[in-house]
């Protein structure tokens, strides 16, 4: 059912009451603000008091403006006929003039209403009129009016009344489900139904995933608790020595406390590695909050280039013991992939998160590169440096998967990260393929550009080539086509399982996002600056930005805070008229050259028309 709820129609209500069984009308746009206004106009038009009728006609004139050419015929015809009646009762017109007025209104009514029923082959009016229950004599009256003698005023008046009555019965009292007597009750019921339906929907959406989500949340909390205890322990150590550099050393000496925490996390990892990775990447851990940086005495640099893909050293040392303990082969893969996923989601923002993600990925990759590249050398210096290293053993990762994830999270740093991956990757890709990939990545991220580094910059004079293969490759990166799972399956069975888990997780994440409703927050924080800027630019102008704190999102277009549904709410009691004297005569325009066609208006010469000329031409003044 929910799937059917398109833009223009709202989901059908459950057919509880038999009256609702009929085809559900679409949600459409009309000229009245609400039912109250519609009712007011209908009652006004048919009330018989010409002052009230005139007021209703005035409102219909606004409707006509709103509707433009889409004005409902019946409303138009009713208004025209009522106008005649108002004129009639004003006593300002003589009978002949009245006959002409009534006559045109009647002719228009018969023609317009029946024309809707016409087919390609014309059907006689009488027959059509019979079909729609218009008295035959009214059709005859139309015939007299157009082709015969002008009828008497009395007959016109009678015709007008009959037609107005027809319009009331066939249009006004049937439209909007308007069976005047039962109306109020009906509406109430509708409201109840609608709200019940809403509740239903909400419930349905929640139930299936609710449980899994709950479980996930609990687990997440558990991991967070352990991580918090790690943080606290590290801070405690730092406080004991006062100096940051000393604490770095202390942090790297494994303590029993840290070992215990590590064991706890490893336990949790047995249960769900992804959730641990997720928790690590939630705010406050590997991605620090500002206060944490302050405590560690790290100066935050807004300029991303300045960090050179490095995590600030103190912060690195803070987490290094934990990470070194955790980063097994499989967890490394999961964590880096997860980082890319996170990066994909926040690559636009300019906050700490993307910056730290990029730098962590870079640090980890560099670490892997070191450990993979020179085992011997690594062992040699192990005694002094190992404290700093994230990886102690070689970590052969699934590099192609990593490349995929990297390319799925395009950002300014992608070329750098991709290059790191391509350098470490074993088996290596052919050199030209690496080059092409890097080039494509830099094109895609525009402005990132291929970074100067040994692999590629030396020979960009060689023209890179974009082949179907590289496109195909991209295709795999970009859209999560179903067949991706199949390819991966062939490569690695274990991965397939991971994929499944990951998918579930992604869904859950989405749901969590919808729960918190990110729009609200963004609308406020992001736009406030822009609004302030606009406000400044409008200083001293009549135009302003509303200063009041209004929750605009609660108010639909056409409705303001505090406005009621009172149909008279927008009536004006005073206004001033202003005429523009100089419109639209403008003489700046000159005939471009003598060879333009002449107009033969001797007075002005050439093509210089003024409003004045137009009037002269129109009023038939013979100038020529």
């Amino acid at each position: 059912m929910a799937g059917r709820a398109g833009l223009a129609c709202r989901p059908g209500r459950p057919g509880s009451s038999p009256a609702r069984k009929r085809l559900k009308p679409l949600r459409t746009v009309v000229a009245w603000r609400g039912r109250a206004e519609w009712d007011q106009v209908m009652v006004g038009l048919y009330c018989g008091d010409s002052r009230l009728q005139q007021e209703a006609l005035d409102r219909v004139s606004a409707w006509k403006s709103r509707y433009g050419p889409k004005m409902p015929l019946a409303v138009d015809c009713t208004a025209e006929l009522i106008r005649c009646k108002v004129l009639d009762s004003s006593g300002r017109l003589k009978s002949h003039e009245l006959i002409l007025s009534y006559g045109l209104a009647l002719v228009r009514f018969v023609n317009l209403i029946t024309e809707r029923k016409q087919k390609m082959v014309s059907i006689p009016l009488r027959q059509l009129a019979k079909e729609v229950d218009i008295p035959i004599w009214v059709v005859d009256l139309r015939h007299e009016l157009t082709h015969g003698k002008l009828p008497r005023l009395a007959l016109c008046r009678k015709g007008c009344d009959v037609v107005l009555d027809w319009l009331r019965k066939t249009y006004w009292s049937r439209q909007l489900g308007n069976n005047l007597c039962e109306e109020s009750e009906d509406e109430e019921q509708q409201g109840v139904e609608a709200s019940a339906e809403l509740d239903n929907d909400a419930w349905e959406i929640q139930t299936p995933q609710h449980e899994a989500c709950q479980k996930h949340k609990e687990f997440h909390e558990k991991v967070r608790d352990v991580l918090i205890s790690y943080k606290n322990e590290q801070f405690r150590v730092m406080q004991t020595v006062q100096s940051v550099s000393k604490s770095r050393e202390l942090w790297s000496d494994s303590s029993s406390e840290v070992d215990w925490i590590l064991a706890q996390i490893k336990d949790l990892m047995q249960e769900n590695r992804e959730a641990v990775a997720e928790a690590l990447l939630s705010d406050g851990f590997l991605i620090p909050k500002m206060d944490c940086l302050k405590m560690l005495n790290i100066k935050y640099e807004a300029n991303k280039e300045l960090w050179q893909f490095k995590i600030p050293q103190t912060f690195y040392c803070f987490w290094q013991p934990l990470l070194t303990g955790l980063l097994s082969r499989s967890f490394t893969q999961i964590l880096i992939e997860k980082m890319f996923v996170e990066l994909k989601e926040c690559s636009d923002s300019s906050e700490l998160r993307p910056q730290f993600l990029i730098n962590w990925i870079s640090e980890m990759l560099t670490g892997i590169a070191k450990v993979n590249a020179g085992k011997k050398r690594q062992q040699h210096c192990n005694k002094q440096v190992s404290v700093k290293e994230l990886f102690l053993r070689k970590v052969p990762l699934q590099w192609i998967r990593l490349t995929d994830s990297c390319l799925e999270a395009p950002c300014w740093a992608t070329p750098h990260l991709l290059q790191l991956i391509l350098t470490i990757m074993r088996p290596r890709l052919p050199r030209s393929s690496r080059k092409n990939l890097l080039y494509l990545a830099s094109v895609y991220t525009e402005g990132g550009g291929p970074l100067s580094s040994p692999g590629i910059s030396s020979d960009c004079s060689e023209q890179p080539i974009y082949t179907i293969e590289s496109l195909q490759w991209r295709a795999r990166q970009e859209n999560q086509v179903k067949n991706q799972a199949q390819t991966v399956e062939k490569q690695d069975d274990v991965l397939e399982r991971d994929d499944g888990v990951e998918e579930v997780e992604e869904e859950e994440e989405e749901e969590m996002v919808t729960e918190t409703n990110p729009l609200e927050g963004l609308a406020h924080s992001g736009n406030l600056a822009a609004i302030a800027e606009k406000r400044a630019a409008l200083q001293g102008s009549a135009w302003q930005i509303t200063a009041d704190e209004v929750q605009w999102k609660d108010f639909p277009l056409g409705k303001l805070p505090g406005q009621t549904d009172d149909p008279d709410g927008l009536m004006l009691d005073n206004y001033s008229m202003m005429s523009l004297l100089d419109q639209p005569v403008r003489d700046e325009w000159k005939p471009p050259s003598t060879n333009s066609a002449e107009l033969n208006i001797p007075a002005t010469g050439g093509l210089l028309w003024t409003q004045n000329d137009f009037h002269k031409i129109k009023s038939g003044l013979q100038l020529f």
Binding site: R33, P72, D76, A537, W552, P592
Partner: protein
């Protein structure tokens, strides 16, 4: 950078200045080294065929009295790129295009590898875009092989379930486009090619005045597509083109209902709703057709044209209304704007519209202007025609001097009104939505609902108000204004008001329109309009007039308001269209207008 292009200063004038595109980032610089070749090709591409001595002056098209024949197509040799079938990819969808190697042409616009990514839109509702490869050296074969060597990695699963689905399709789909048959793309007829060639020649020639090209023809003959193609071709050689929009029903750069003059510097690679931009001059006419008030329409056209500086070639688009009064109006417009070239698009039978030769236009009456014949009695006598002939060089009584170019579209269903792929009102709604898209903040990925945005407010007394298209009782005018689409305009007059209430204009001004907005609400107590608009504040402060026309907010905006409690104003699900009289006035399809008899006029 080595590929900066020749400095424009050495030669005078705009014509010689090559188009220079801004280059961003390091990628551009890295690509600069191999740009040289591409630039040359780009220049070649700009001219589909350049042969023979160029026709310097607009020829007096055809001898008077003779029925103008359609241009002889057979005599011309086929253009070079027609000889060898160009490698082309016709597609629908949207993507960002960046040329990595060689050069391609997209709807006339040459894209070489130094250019930054171009957003490209080819929806199914419009003539599909085609990527044509421009002739270039073949890539070294070795490199190709090397790339293939990375094989296992690059292989795509071979799915054989649908024979039509190739790996290539998957690749294209991944960037957001779908290949379609070449017939869906722009079919350049021989006559079109000839016309384009002539126009490019004229626009790039040194010794002539600045060309003013007026494009006209009945509905659905491809005027807009021709304009886009022409402009793109010209942009290969010139830094900018002016474009004047006189078709108020289907506007290119603005929301509907406007006559405007725009400076075009970027290629047009998509339908109007993808490139809404602020024109140099714009007047809000307020209707999607001008039948009801042709007089004001001409005033508006005149006003907008007056700001054309004649420094850059101008392309003028006109309405598809070329029958009856529409043709007369077109003749008025031709007299008013005196173009140097007229491109008349029509199917071969000339039923819809007479050939607009200079002689024909000279002699025919317009709606507000007189033709030569009518004026005869006023002039000195019967030898007047003779006079006109002899004195044409001096130009005091000559026919309008322009070159008429015929273009016969050859795409299927050309010229058949009502056969367009999408209803025009939907395209208008799309333009409005495209315009309103500017209200969304670029930093936020999500689209915010309009009603949640913070509006501007302006007191009743500071802006004058006028309903263009209908008479609304002044006391009820706010019912018309509330939740409506308004043109934000600037009138030279100072807004005088005697009371606190709104200021209503007694006539519709012809004035600059600075943009559009939605009246989000009308606050009666504090006498304020609340308006949502993307018009920047520095322009907004000049706005002192709101014009309300016959163009309404797309229904989906009102209907689709989410997260609102209670009823949405102006939206109901209880209106039943099946009740007689609930619909609008429909024009009867089988009711035919009397054909405008033109045969005698040019014979």
């Amino acid at each position: 950078a080595p590929g900066r292009g020749r400095p424009g200063g050495s030669r005078r004038g705009w014509r010689r200045r090559r188009r220079r595109r801004p280059r961003r980032g390091r990628a551009g610089r890295a690509a600069a080294a191999w740009r040289g070749g591409a630039r040359r090709r780009e220049a070649e591409a700009a001219m589909p065929a350049r042969r023979g001595p160029p026709a310097r002056r607009p020829r007096r098209a055809l001898s008077r009295g003779a029925r103008p024949a359609p241009p002889p197509p057979a005599s011309r040799p086929p253009p070079p790129h027609a000889a060898l079938p160009p490698q082309a990819l016709t597609f629908t969808g949207k993507c960002r295009l960046r040329c990595l190697y060689g050069a391609v042409r997209l709807l006339g616009f040459a894209v070489a590898s130094h250019q930054p990514g171009l957003p490209v839109f080819s929806p199914a509702t419009h003539c599909a875009l085609s990527l044509e490869a421009l002739p270039a050296e073949r890539p070294p074969a070795a490199d190709l092989r090397q790339l293939r060597a990375a094989a296992p990695f690059f292989s795509l699963p071979q799915k054989k379930e649908e024979s039509s689905f190739t790996p290539e399709d998957a690749v294209l789909a991944s960037v957001g486009i779908v290949k379609c048959s070449s017939e869906r793309g722009l079919l350049v007829s021989e006559s079109m090619l000839v016309a384009l060639e002539e126009l490019i020649q004229a626009c790039c020639a040194e010794d002539e005045g600045v060309p003013v090209v007026l494009v006209c023809g009945p509905k659905n003959t491809g005027k807009s597509t021709f304009n886009r193609y022409l402009i793109n071709l010209l942009l290969n050689r010139l830094p900018s083109i002016e474009y004047m929009e006189c078709d108020i029903g289907q506007t290119e750069f603005t929301p509907p209902g406007c006559v405007s003059l725009s400076n075009v510097t970027e290629p047009i690679l998509g339908p109007p709703f993808t490139h809404q931009q602020m024109p140099c001059k714009m007047v809000y006419y307020g209707q999607t057709s001008c039948e009801q008030d042709t007089e004001r329409y001409l005033d508006v056209v005149k006003y907008v044209f007056s700001s054309y500086k004649k420094e850059v070639p101008l392309v003028i688009n006109t309405m598809g209304w070329v029958k009856g009064e529409g043709l007369l109006l077109l003749i008025d417009i031709i007299r008013l704007l005196s173009p140097s070239h007229i491109v008349q698009m029509d199917v071969y039978d000339w039923k819809a519209m007479a050939p607009l030769t200079p002689e024909y236009v000279h002699l025919s009456p317009g709606l507000y202007t007189k033709g030569k014949q009518q004026a005869k009695c006023k002039q000195v006598g019967a030898s007047e025609v003779e006079n006109w002939r002899s004195s044409e060089g001096e130009g005091d009584a000559s026919a309008p001097e322009y070159k008429l170019l015929y273009v016969h579209p050859e795409f299927p269903r050309a010229g058949i009104a009502g056969e367009a792929r999408v209803h025009s009102s939907i395209l208008r709604d799309m333009s409005i939505l495209g315009y309103l898209g500017q209200l969304q903040s670029p930093d936020i990925g999500a689209v915010l609902p309009l009603h949640s945005l913070v509006p501007y407010q302006v007191p009743f007394s500071a802006v004058a108000l006028r309903v263009i298209h209908s008479d609304v009782a002044p006391t009820n005018i706010m019912y018309a204004v509330n939740a409506s689409w308004v043109g934000l305009c600037r009138i030279p007059d100072e807004i005088k008001c005697e009371s606190e209430g709104p200021v209503l204009l007694t006539q519709t001004p012809v004035c600059d329109c600075l943009g559009f907005g939605i009246v989000r609400g009308v606050e009666m107590e504090r006498k304020l309009y609340h308006i949502l608009t993307p018009v920047p504040p520095e322009n907004l402060r000049q706005v002192n007039c709101l014009l309300l026309g016959n163009i309404s907010i797309p229904n989906c905006i009102l209907v689709g308001q989410q997260g609102v409690e209670g009823e949405i104003p102006y939206v109901t699900s209880d209106y039943n269209y099946s009740i007689l009289g609930s619909g609008k006035l429909k024009k009867k399809k089988h009711f035919k207008r009397r054909e405008y008899a033109f045969e005698c006029d040019y014979a």
